[in-house]
């Protein structure tokens, strides 16, 4: 069981001086809140040792180097990677996927298979490569309820060089059967990249158990600092990738007409890094690791089940994805036919400080295809209480009464 009250005490934003002003924050899929421990770790860097890592051999520099190393180790352990060298710090999931797209050396005609529910971050880089060098982007249709269709996948995977799919969807919260996908893909000779932006914060992701080749996620959706992320790759694959950002910190030595690249991960981390962010991310990993993901999932499910149940009583509301909240992790994304859902978000915020997201959630392609204008999304995390869910439902009903 999670002690939500105790968890909430770590988040300053949830504890303003006047408790009535505490936000009902239901937008963690976009950006999670950050516990004090993370903020303090970052501040500590800025206040006490704001120096370079790796390069400088003075005391402050040493301290940064050690802290960054520690953060890398924490991430390695967190996702059960084989080696710290497999962990590349990025700014976000998007950067990780771009890194892959630009480093993998795909050629004209190479097939990249993605699903029909990808975040723009796992769609646009591939479409771009299609336009630039002529790769083929193949789309694997999911089932009507948003769940993954392994049959479709098995057929479409043949001939693919790379499968790049979302692990847990930010659209409907559905978690794709990564292990099966990877197994099938590997059998077909394809590499697999997972967009783990929404899965990492909510469930145990074990890269070795999954046998995934590449994995990208963001720190800011898992209690970490904003603008931090991780790109994981199997070391033997990373060695073959050719980095697309090069310069300082990526090379062992240079002459006027040559350079010798460092091994991974350095060769991918060009220039000075966001050390405060990396250290903060390490702290977030530490923070999250004190909980058993099983309890986080249980907690999210409890709230999701309540919201789902209440929404299902309102005939005009349609929930995107499967009906069963168990299949939707912490996400309830809903819409009303022919209605711009932005006003719900605006009104909920105005009325009771309830913060949800409205729009197309960067999955425009799916909305275009389904001819749905937009939707309103509630996304839950470990610091949400049952009261948050109740406040949301009460106010939503009030709005529905007048609209």
């Amino acid at each position: 069981m999670l002690n939500v009250e105790k968890i909430r005490a770590d988040f300053d934003v949830l504890n303003p001086e006047s408790p009535a002003k505490a936000p009902v924050y239901l937008d963690s899929a976009c950006m999670s809140l950050k516990p004090r421990q993370v903020v303090e770790a970052m501040n500590d860097y800025y206040a006490n040792y704001p120096a370079c890592a790796g390069r400088s051999s003075h005391k402050l520099g040493d301290k940064v180097t050690k802290k960054v190393k520690k953060a890398r180790e924490l991430v390695t352990e967190f996702i059960n990677a084989k080696s710290d060298d497999e962990i590349i710090f990025t700014r976000n999931t998007t950067e990780g996927i771009n890194l892959l797209a630009n480093s993998l050396g795909l050629q004209k005609g190479d097939i990249v298979l993605i699903s029909d529910k990808e975040h723009n971050s796992n769609l646009v880089p591939w479409l771009r490569l299609r336009d630039k060098i002529g790769i083929v982007v193949r789309i694997c249709p999911t089932n009507e309820d948003g769940t993954f269709n392994l049959d479709n996948f098995s057929q479409l995977v043949s001939g693919a060089k790379l499968v790049s799919v979302v692990h847990t969807s930010n659209l409907d919260g559905v978690t794709n059967p990564a292990k099966e996908i990877i197994k099938i893909a590997h059998q077909a000779g394809a590499l697999v990249a997972l967009d783990a932006a929404q899965s990492i914060p909510h469930k145990k992701v074990d890269v070795r158990d999954l046998d995934v080749d590449f994995l990208a996620f963001s720190g800011h959706k898992m209690l970490g600092p904003t603008g931090t992320g991780v790109f994981y790759g199997k070391l033997e694959l990373l060695e073959k990738l050719s980095p697309f950002l090069v310069g300082g910190d990526t090379v062992e030595s240079t002459s006027y007409d040559s350079y010798k690249m460092l091994p991974a991960p350095e060769k991918f981390e060009a220039g000075l890094q966001d050390y405060a962010g990396i250290i903060g991310l390490g702290e977030a990993v530490k923070y999250l690791s004190q909980f058993d993901f099983k309890y986080i999932a249980e907690h999210e499910f409890k709230l999701n089940a309540y919201i789902t149940n209440e929404l299902q009583k309102i005939p005009k509301i349609k929930i995107i994805g499967p009906e069963d909240p168990k299949l939707r992790s912490g996400i309830v994304n809903f819409y009303i036919d022919g209605t711009d859902m932005h006003k719900f978000a605006v009104m909920l915020d105005e009325m009771a400080g309830i913060e949800i997201r409205s729009g197309r959630h960067c999955v425009h392609s799916w909305f275009e295809n389904k001819k749905i204008y937009n939707s309103a999304r509630v996304s839950l995390y470990l610091y949400n209480m049952m009261e948050d869910a109740e406040t949301f439902i009460t106010n939503l009903k009030k709005i529905l009464e007048i609209l």
């Binding site: 711009d340 932005h342 006003k343 719900f344 978000a345 605006v346 009104m347 909920l348 105005e350 009325m351 409205s358 729009g359 197309r360 959630h361 960067c362 425009h364 909305f367 204008y373 937009n374 009030k398 709005i399 009464e401 007048i402 609209l403």
Partner: protein
């Protein structure tokens, strides 16, 4: 359309509050298409509607429902009112600039820029002479068919003509006098001065002025300036007149003989009668190229009246 309304409303509110300034900025973007209606961003109109409805909803669900139902019509009504009041405000600002009163030339109704009505205060002309705001019905104050030939004048032949009808005893005339002097100096316009005894016993000064102009025309303006700018109580005290006259080096006897003569009395009386024909209702009344400005206006008002294009 809602963007424009919002831009104006928030633009004005933004002068006073930072949060409205941010909304004004958004409205600005909305007007100029920076925030277009995209499914991933809240449209500005939608946002405003949501904000309004939720404010109402926490008070009365019924009201919120009604507003939601008739939102389009309400926003049109609001828009029209908005445009109307904007024009009204614009007109007020223009009037205030050009006439010194939001409501138009010589209108003494309430004006936010001149809350105490200073620019329209006059000493009223009539039996009950007192200084203060005098609300006048539409009056046709005019110089038409008025013979001004007997009054002191300078810069004759200039294309612009300024006629100052004022009273030595009245504070409002005294306030306007230096501005008119400055105006005439700057614009080299034809300037005619007419004393009108609106308040108290100033007839004797009018007569003295008449005689100074007759005997020492080159010194008249200096003398007149003095009467308007020196201490009022001193000037208005009859017993000080001789001292004043001698200060200017005038022949005191000559002037007082002249002033006491029946001919002067008639002439001055005739002048007052002539001035009454202008239908003036208070002093100062300043005619600039025939247009009457009643009450002491800010200098820019007089200047704008002479300028061809308000500012130059």
């Amino acid at each position: 359309m809602p963007c424009i309304v919002a831009l104006i409303v928030f633009g004005i509110m933004g002068i006073f509050s930072a949060s409205h300034r941010a909304l004004a900025e958004e409205a600005f973007g909305c007007v100029f298409k920076r925030i277009t209606f995209r499914p991933c961003n809240t449209g500005f109109a939608e946002k405003i509607k949501g904000k309004i409805l939720s404010k109402l909803l926490v008070r009365s669900a019924f009201l919120a429902k009604m507003v939601n139902r008739h939102y389009e019509i309400l926003s049109w009504i609001f828009f029209i009112l908005m445009v109307g009041s904007t024009i009204w405000v614009g007109r007020g600002v223009y009037n205030f600039y050009v006439y010194g009163s939001c409501n138009g030339l010589n209108e003494s109704g309430f004006c936010a820029f001149d809350p105490s009505g200073e620019n329209n205060k006059v000493t009223s002309v009539g039996d009950d002479s007192s200084c203060g705001i005098t609300q006048q019905s539409e009056q046709n104050v005019t110089l038409e068919n008025i013979n001004l030939s007997g009054f002191p004048a300078i810069n004759t032949g200039s294309k612009d003509t300024v006629v100052f009808v004022g009273c030595y005893a009245c504070d409002y005339s005294r306030r306007a006098y230096p501005d008119i002097k400055k105006l005439v100096e700057n614009k080299k316009s034809n300037y005619i001065f007419a004393h009108y005894p609106a308040k108290g016993d100033t007839m004797f000064l009018g007569e003295a002025g008449y005689c100074v102009q007759k005997e020492y025309p080159e010194k008249f303006w200096e003398f007149n300036d003095y009467l308007f700018t020196a201490d009022k109580d001193y000037v208005l005290n009859k017993s000080n007149l001789d001292e004043i006259l001698s200060k200017f080096g005038f022949d005191v006897k000559k002037i007082s003989d002249c002033a006491n003569s029946a001919e002067t009395k008639t002439a001055v009386q005739d002048q007052t009668t002539e001035l009454k024909k202008t239908n003036l209702y208070g002093t100062p009344t300043i005619f600039i190229n025939g247009k009457a400005f009643v009450g002491p206006k800010p200098y820019r008002v007089y200047r704008s009246a002479i300028n061809k294009f308000i500012f130059f």
